[in-house]
Amino acid sequence: MSFLLLVQYTLIFASVLMLVALGGCFSEHSGVINLGLEGIMVMGALGGALAMKYLGKGTSAVVVILVVVLVSVLSGVIYSSLLAIASINFKADQTLVGTAMNMLSAALATVIVKSINMAENPDNVSATVEYGIGKKALLINIGSFQISYLTILAVILLVVSYILLYKTKFGLRLMACGEHPQAADSVGISVYKMCWAGVLISGFLGGLGGIAYITAGVSEWKFEMGVAGFGFLSLAVMIFGQWKPVNIALAALLFGFFRALSNVYSGFDFLAALHLPGSVYNMMPYIISLLVLAFTSANSRAPKAEGIPYDKGQR
């Protein structure tokens, strides 16, 4: 039983990490470091949560799934354009803008949810959205095992990402912009357009990752806490996956497993017998990523031109 639960959580957390890390992968291959993934996830989660809240009862499951996915993706894409405008068109410091976006998303989501809650009931000053009824539409029950449609969608998007990145003209051009934008420009590729595409795709995948994250297990979300570092963990997954979709998927499974352990460790007798505080399991994914990064970063396969704003005039 607890083993089944572990598999269930591993799958859902792994799909979240994979989606968001793939998003980061597209952005970085175009040359833009997307540190704002955490914020993009929050906005995607907020859009999806509100969609579920308002659709609620009486709407058919297919409509719920479609609308929730659409709203989350759109929220992510719109929010990611904040990064695109600043870092591509105005050559802003990408780390700074990404950090600002993370802070902004937490504040914005809290303000929006609180305002909605207060308008409904003046005594409710919490930043919590409940979406229990809408969430049911996203889940498939096989006996006592639950799988989310979003996990299936994540696997499909993995295949699509692989093909898009390696087998299409677009993908190869995108990667050229992250490696050597000047050369790409000289053969007629519009670097700015490619960067925009990379960032917006990361918004798409990040937004979807956000809704997948908050529907993992719980049926209400406190928006004050954002997405608790999952966007950053995804960045570690992306680096560990060496910016390659298949490796990213494998890295996501590994990290997802450790994250899932912190949810269900008490169900395992031998783990419960260790009497470790819950914090130890919460820390685990971060410690592991730090160790992994320490051993793998020396031969990093990071896109060579990432983080440097492309300036046409310096060609």
Partner: protein
Amino acid sequence: MNTEKEKRTILANDGVQSFLTALLCIVIGLFVGFIVLLIISPQGAWEGIITILKNYFTYPSGPAKMKYFGNTLVKMAPLLLCALSIQFCYKAGLFNIGAAGQYVAGAGASLYGALALGLPWYVDVILAIVAGLVFGGIVGILKAYANVNEVISGIMLNWIGLYTVNMLLTGVKETASPYTVTLASTNESALLPNMGLDKLFTNNKYVTIAIPLAIIVAIVIQIILKKTVFGYELQATGYNKDAAKYSGMKEKKNIILTLMIGGALAGLGASFLYLTGYEQWSVTQSSVPVMGFNGIAATFLGGLDPIGTIFASYFIQHITSGGSYLDKAVYPSQVSDLISAIIIYLCGFVLFFKTVFNKRLNAKKGGEKA
């Protein structure tokens, strides 16, 4: 004619430009905040934005104003140190987003020293510095020897720090709440001394030597950056890492040392807040305190200058505190966090603002010649 020329040289001054662009960021940030208030409830929006800006001026009596002015200063001191931590590293080309975690480590170490070990304040402050230094040092060593990006390792350490400190302080929490026991009830010797400063602020007992010390630290950082060989090397590394290495500067040593100092500053900042007794640590908090991230706002708003950062830290804290005076039945206090976040976002455009500004200035000059 002469005054015209003078005006131009003033406008061409980098410091003046930084000030003007910071002002522009603030104005746009406040404007966006105002729009948000308008959307939530149009009636009280103007009053709301004035409330945020007024902060403690809301109180009618002078003594009350002074008392709450003191509270804003109490929280400004740690913010200033986090800002300096980020700034010091940024000068060397390192983005110390790990300041938030170094701050957490400092809070954990100083509170553990004070509450669990019963040590006096000066030892607790040193513990906080050491904890921050270790956290910063890990980032530095990973960067120098394993090529791990300091942003990523910093973020990972933020979370590791948070959970470690939560675990560490669980032993000294109140039985009925998730908060750590108060310093006043457990170990009064751990409270930072007031040195009579509390008298100036209507007996606000949270006003301690932390405030003047924070400002002194800012001045010391300014001196290190401007007047010492180490400061020069550090900034040279920031401008061009390879050139610095080529001219014989020990790049690896400088990276580690810079992040250690950065970490020590953030750790010290935490002790400046938690050892006043103004706040207790909640051992169930599941997100990293925003102080370290707000430091990013203060540092960039302050034009990456230690003295400018003193004023920027005050401003950021002023509007953050101001947010808590908003009519809670209508507006969420997080509107002021939103304003700070927008200000940081806009700081990304500073380079652009300055370029446009200089272009116009030069164009004017060129036109005059012709």
